[in-house]
Symmetry: C3
């Protein structure tokens, strides 16, 4: 009887911890070359950080999204730099996308991190319980 | 030995309950001003509700999606109203998006609910186990 | 005391198993009639399979995405066929979308599977822990 009581407590605790876990963590998926989408994702990331001191944001760029993080092409270079200076925000770009476009690390905005596979990065975050937002309109 | 047996039972039960939990709950993410996307989301929501008496649907509108829920601009006003009259469907709009567009509650279709932050609304639903569908084409 | 110890071990084991579970499983959501999106999803699926012998991929086609899997209309027929010949890749199309477009099974590329409801297929995969990627740009 006592054992069942303990087991029930454990089950309830587990549920509770799980439910409480809904802190603000979000991974944005950017595959667009449309500058409106770039404007959108930096605005959304900035707004979230302004209102939520504990929020964690990761922007994953792959496919046609590459321009967002390129020194010579980004229409949001200043905003991206500002966001990267925030320890709770990171920008990650897919190495396979860079290779296909003959882009090397020197062409990236400072602080942009390279990941081997953008899609795997995103689904890993999803698996860890991060929220997922596709940036498209 | 008996304790381990009980613990195993608990673990199996937990897995079972988790697996059984796949009921039809879906949050739609609308950030488009393209009326084809508005048509799509109301058609999909209606079809789901027609075939699934227990399905729960939430449509979250933010960014450029705002027009879908505005009295004066929605191309799907009737369909949205019809859906909102269904207790298992809700439409939620982001207060920050409304503010940025100088829109107040009186301009919303009746029954549309305001949430402080559309993205947080979406990732909270994801965290609670709701399916996520980005509406884009 | 011993009981609590056992319960703690169980809790840790459960977390560990959950965390280890991040294998490469991804469901792609295709609702576009834009051939760039078709090109993108077959390229991404092929690249993932080339680098990850254990990865599982499912491409769910509904709404305006139908053309991708039609014999007479797909711009990626060969690539889709190649992918389908891989046991770890499947293409599924929504029966409701087919009906609305007066398309029957004979018009599908060989090996494409029909599911009753594309959205339910996607959220079921999400619920089972698969990663989700919306294909849009």
């Amino acid at each position: 009887m006592k054992k069942f009581f303990l087991l029930s407590i454990l089950a309830m605790l587990t549920s509770f911890i799980h439910a409480q876990n809904a802190d603000y963590k979000v991974v944005f998926d950017v595959t667009s070359k449309d500058s409106i989408n770039y404007q959108t994702v930096v605005r959304e990331a900035s707004l979230i950080r302004e209102s939520n001191p504990d929020a964690n944001i990761e922007v994953v760029v792959y496919g046609q999204g590459l321009d967002l993080v390129l020194k010579d092409k980004s229409t949001q270079a200043d905003a991206v730099q500002q966001l990267i200076s925030d320890k709770k925000v990171s920008f990650k770009v897919c190495a396979m996308t860079m290779k296909r476009n003959n882009v090397d690390e020197s062409q990236l905005l400072p602080g942009v991190e390279v990941v081997p596979d953008g899609i795997y990065e995103i689904i890993s975050k999803q698996h860890e319980g991060w929220g997922y937002i596709k940036v498209a309109h």
